[in-house]
Symmetry: C2
């Protein structure tokens, strides 16, 4: 016993010491090291020093102050949650998170207590309400929240509000903090994690928000359990591997790693492409970047910005490259048009990438366009960089971005003309999780901001309450996701993979060739063998710049090879008004749907031509005062259809956009070969139409015995012949080939041959 | 005899003297007084003095030099005429006239002989070709030209080329001038006048061009006969009063005065409104203004700018007021959308109106936007005005512009909101000559540049050769001119006046009331008794600004009163996407045309509702990220149709634009009462939808025994009631009225009563 007592005493003393030490540290930490999450003490000092001398920062700050002051003047509004997205309580709580975060920053930067008081008052109102809040009354979500109809929005709230709390942390007394943490933050974080594993423990942008929400508040409270859950996921969750979310995506595969780091490992490719596409990448970018910034500030030893070979910084560049000239994202998969690098997520991402990614001066040009900054060290760095005249242009070039966590699951390939006006995006990726569309080898094509051939995007009006509460419309599934809604091949009026997510998720297309090394002849080419199990698809798109054409032309070669006979359709979703065709067609006296299912039920047939002979068809249209001509090789029996979206759309949920569809009714194999010219200009003020005609006389496909090659020629009206031969089975640049076409022998090395003759 | 000889001698001497004097004068005149037409000797001296110090002038000059130098470098191109508009020879000769005029100016301002040589060389090429030129081989025009398919373009050519000739007049030797005049200018002017009376001797913009072409070259050559023909028309022409032009307009009524002055008298109203509408007014403005300038320079005694109480200067203001915020003209009648005050005709008109119309500093703001000037005294004045900081804003206000040569043939009434964003144009004019549409009491409505309810404009692609040689398409007659293509009432699916030009030309609508004195409640109201002989129409539109609504609302009250039972339709050509309706409707599984003729054959029926009860229907749509709601009083049996343009359009000549149509199937009299709200904003970057709902709960029409009044109330969701009573037979502001509605007595003076109650 005697031995025991001192032993115990030592243990007790040790414990006392440890507890005391922790308390002391925490106290000191609390007093000395907040803010430390996004704003830092040093950053605040630096910023205060520069205020009034950094226009873009000062402007943002002034706008923020104006906005927050107006809100503070309107009083505190913390209503009992009730509405769907677009409704009052939803929008109000959303506004609260945005304003709280800003008010916290204002307290730090302006040292005006009124902002701290406001944040504290609002947080107290939430803390008073939260402990007794049931699940949100709207039952639509697979993971219902408490403040909002879905956990996702609850997580959004906490990601922002954690920052506000960090900013007023030292302003509050210990008792005040304990009250907030006990009644609001800890139960809130627990609900989002352990309380909602089907939401928290996934590879999905939802989970990223969840992980980051929990991680951020964990960092503020220095709560290791929450931080670890955030980084590495919950250890157990009991999620059924067959369970799906509201979008039809699987919740979680068995044995799948989870947590923030796993969500960096998995959906991001080594090139920084996020498998859901840029619209959702943008959405996820804020939590990814802001938590990375917080981790870098609080746990620099994690070296988060170096994780996976610097994938977070790469992701920002990937996103910027996935925009049109006006900064809007290419609307791949479920992407709402109009979203752009002007979004607050990208302001934040660009600032963080600049500050933590090596101060790349070209990012300053994007920040200049955004004309606002994140109000922290990163925004200060940006503002100073701009003020010091360091800005250089961010030049978007042709680029291939691989998909898949190791980059092996296909890509998006972007070809851009020298002036960056013409932009082709070809998609040969994986499915893109639950937000993916069934559009293997599809493409969209742009002239500056004009969609020459559009990607429809999603069928949804995000946050417009009248349209299904702002959520996905049923036409998203029946139309927008279907293959016929895209500029790619459709066999027997059936979507790729039969439109089945389970099957589509197992496959991806294969890059064949991406070569933008010659700016006058850029090639992207990819294959797919799984969209239709008995059919091999191979699409090659070439952007050719040549003096025969006013602007670069786009060549599209869509090859298909099946064991059995099928109908093949290739749609082109153009915009604008048809100016001319080089063939007669019939237009019906009443409009019927083009088909009965798989999206065809949404198309009206406006016109039709059945060809009796082989020929080159041409159709010229005018869109935003520029002329475009599609020239296509037609074989006898082929059809050219004029279609328009809008059938079976009882709520007018779909745009009435038009389409050309080239149809090969019964065939086993062949190719759709087309050329798209961008030409001329119509000026409605001078009323002069320049270069309103195609320069192409015809396109010819050569008959070749050797299956490994496909060859075609474009003959211009001036009489020049542009001949292309593509080897479809060998991309080695050193391989030499020779082939006889019409008695002439072509010898070349590398995957393709191009010759121009007079 | 003796007496006779000296008498004769004296006469001969006198004649000799006169001839000698004339020759001497002409010689001196020629040597000393050219240029005198548009550029003047004094102007040239002034301009040269300021060159290099007047940015907007210098810029225009530099751009002009660059353009002309490039053309000179490309050689001389005077091909034998062959093509329609949009074809090579047409476009080439059109380019020639523009370049020649500019080259002449450059010769004068830059004193570089190469420009004079170029002009001379090109004119010689024309002079070598002209004498043997037959009529243009294209036979489509009622007045075929020689250089172009229609005299109109030949006249355009001469209006410009006269100026070039004036600029190099003194550079040429007498022999060189005689050669050009004998082989080119005199026969050219004779062909356009005596050789083409059906073109020259009319009240029509065509004739204005013809008159001015002949007058301009007459002034340069000092040829009184040509000048007189230009000013006063041909004395005889033998035109059949039943003859029509290509647009279906009459050539000339018996006894009609003609010539330039008659074309000022007749189609211009005292307010400067040109009866064909702004698109053609813009087109005619150049010859009107430039010839006026020439007359002012050469024959100041005519005081042309004071003619008809200064109508030419008023016309420029009328045109500027007939534009949207972006400077594009309201597309009344046959007007092509996109034409604007940026056109060269308006650059010229604004400059001339500034210089000869009293130096109104607000015109400088328009010139600043145009960012170019006419290279003459007027442009110099503008450039100096801008340089000297005199610019003030040109504020477009609500305005009524009367139609008819004496202002008695109806008007266009334009109501504008205080911020000038919302603009209503109501049309209650005369027919508008051959370019008029059958749309009595129609309206169009704009939010900044967005068309809330569009006027379709014309069915034509001006100068796009593939579309019927750039000329009017047959759908212009079958669709664009028909009443159903407009936002106005249609009885029994028949256009106003049965769509007959002969009848429509005899009538005009009658102004009832135009009052914009109260900026918060502006009213335009007009009647028509002739569109349908057995039916009286009365439309009243009110723009109301009130705190109950985010933006001013538009109230539309379309009354009709017939002796017999008819079907009445009221279409609203909206744009954008339907967000919500407060009623269920059916959508068909295949699309059928709405009717068989009078334009109805071009509409597909996309949806339909037959109402069983009286109610207020509401439909909300989203257009360019703003919400709009149309609320309409519906009576049982009324129908609400969703239609779309595009049926029976085998060449895709028409835009696929949508429409709501409110239909009253069988009734003798009544009213369509509607309210249009402009509200909210959808931001696709923040994805926030603000104020996406209507603020209106319902609209009620009161039953009144007294036929002289109509009364209605708008009830807001907040519970406020806005009550309107309109007296429909007395606009006297001093008349007092009293009326009982639902037991409450309203007493007021003036044509309407408005009260708002909680």
């Amino acid at each position: 016993m005697q031995k025991l007592i001192p032993h115990l005493s030592i243990r007790i003393l040790q414990q006392f010491f440890v507890v005391f030490a922790i308390m002391f540290c925490l106290h000191g930490y609390a007093q000395e090291h907040h803010p430390n999450l996004i704003l830092t003490k040093k950053g605040v000092t630096d910023i205060r020093k520069h205020l009034g001398q950094i226009p873009i920062f000062d402007q943002t700050l002034a706008a923020t102050k104006k906005e927050v002051d107006a809100e503070i003047a309107s009083g505190i509004h913390v209503p009992i949650p009730k509405d769907m997205a677009g409704g009052y309580t939803h929008d109000r709580h959303k506004k609260n998170w945005l304003i709280l975060q800003k008010a916290g920053i204002l307290y730090q930067l302006l040292e005006d207590e009124k902002y701290a008081i406001y944040v504290h008052d609002v947080l107290k109102a939430y803390a008073a309400m939260y402990p007794t809040l049931p699940l949100h009354p709207q039952t639509r979500s697979y993971a219902r929240g408490k403040i909002f109809w879905q956990c996702l929005n609850d997580a959004n709230w906490l990601v922002y509000v954690s920052q506000a709390y960090d900013c007023i942390y030292t302003y509050l007394s210990k008792q005040e903090r304990e009250y907030l943490e006990k009644n609001l933050f800890v139960p809130y974080a627990n609900f989002l994690s352990e309380g909602s594993p089907q939401f928290f423990n996934r590879i999905h942008n939802h989970s990223t928000w969840g992980n980051v929400a929990v991680g951020m508040i964990g960092l503020v409270m220095n709560n290791e359990k929450l931080i670890n859950n955030a980084l590495y996921g919950l250890k157990s969750d009991n999620i059924d591997p067959n369970q799906k979310d509201n979008d039809g995506g699987f919740i979680k595969a068995k044995g799948q790693k989870t947590g923030f780091l796993a969500n960096l490992d998995e959906p991001f490719s080594p090139d920084g492409y996020y498998t859901e596409g840029p619209y959702y990448q943008r959405y996820a970018m804020y939590p990814f970047m802001v938590f990375a910034e917080a981790l870098q500030n609080v746990k620099p030893e994690l070296k988060i910005f170096e994780y996976k070979d610097g994938v977070l910084i790469k992701a920002v560049y990937a996103l910027l490259n996935l925009t049109k000239t006006n900064g809007e994202f290419f609307p791949l998969n479920d992407g709402q048009k109009g979203m752009s690098y002007y979004s607050r997520e990208l302001v934040s991402a660009v600032d963080i990438a600049y500050h933590f990614g090596g101060n790349d001066a070209s990012l300053l040009s994007i920040a200049k366009k955004q004309n606002k900054v994140q109000l922290d060290d990163t925004g200060l760095a940006i503002a100073l960089g701009i003020q010091q005249g360091k800005t250089t242009e961010f030049i978007k070039k042709s680029i291939e971005l691989r998909d898949g966590s190791d980059g092996s699951e296909g890509s998006v390939g972007i070809l851009r003309s020298k002036d960056q006006h013409l932009e082709l995006l070809m998609k040969y990726t994986a499915q893109g999780l639950s937000h993916g569309h069934y559009d293997k080898l599809s493409f969209s094509y742009y002239n500056k901001d004009t969609e020459i051939f559009q990607d429809y995007g999603l069928a949804r009006f995000v946050n417009i309450e009248q349209k299904n509460g702002g959520g996905y419309l049923k036409e998203n599934k029946t139309w927008a996701k279907q293959t016929i809604a895209h500029n790619t091949i459709i066999q027997d009026e059936t979507s790729h993979f039969g439109g089945k997510f389970e099957i589509g998720s197992k496959h991806h297309s294969e890059k064949y060739l991406f070569d933008s090394s010659n700016p006058k002849l850029q090639v992207v080419s990819a294959k797919d063998q799984n969209a239709y199990p008995d059919t091999k698809l191979h699409r090659t798109m070439i952007m050719l710049e040549d003096e025969d054409f006013e602007k670069p032309i786009l060549i599209d070669v869509m090859q298909f090879d099946s064991n059995t006979i099928h109908q093949f359709d290739l749609p082109f979703y153009y915009n604008g008004q048809i100016i001319d065709t080089n063939f007669e067609y019939i237009t019906p006296s009443s409009l019927e749907v083009l088909g009965n299912k798989n999206g065809y039920q949404h198309l009206w047939l406006e016109g039709k031509k059945e060809f009796q002979n082989d020929e080159t068809t041409q159709v010229t249209w005018l869109s935003k005062n520029t002329f475009y001509t599609l020239s296509t090789i037609i074989k006898a029996k082929d059809e050219f259809l004029f279609a328009r979206i809008g059938a079976n759309d009882p709520k007018f949920n779909l745009r009435r956009d038009p389409s050309f569809i080239v149809r090969k009714p019964k065939t086993k194999n062949g190719a759709f070969i087309s050329v798209i010219e961008t030409h001329g200009l119509y000026d409605p003020v001078t009323e002069i139409a320049n270069n309103a005609y195609s320069n192409i006389k015809g396109i010819t496909k050569f008959s070749i015995q050797n299956e490994k090659y496909i060859a075609w020629a474009i003959i211009t009206k001036k009489g020049n012949t542009h001949t292309f031969i593509l080897c479809t089975s060998d991309t080695n640049k050193k391989s030499t080939h020779n082939l006889s076409l019409n008695g002439k022998t072509y010898t070349w090395s590398g995957p393709y041959s191009y010759t121009k003759e007079n």
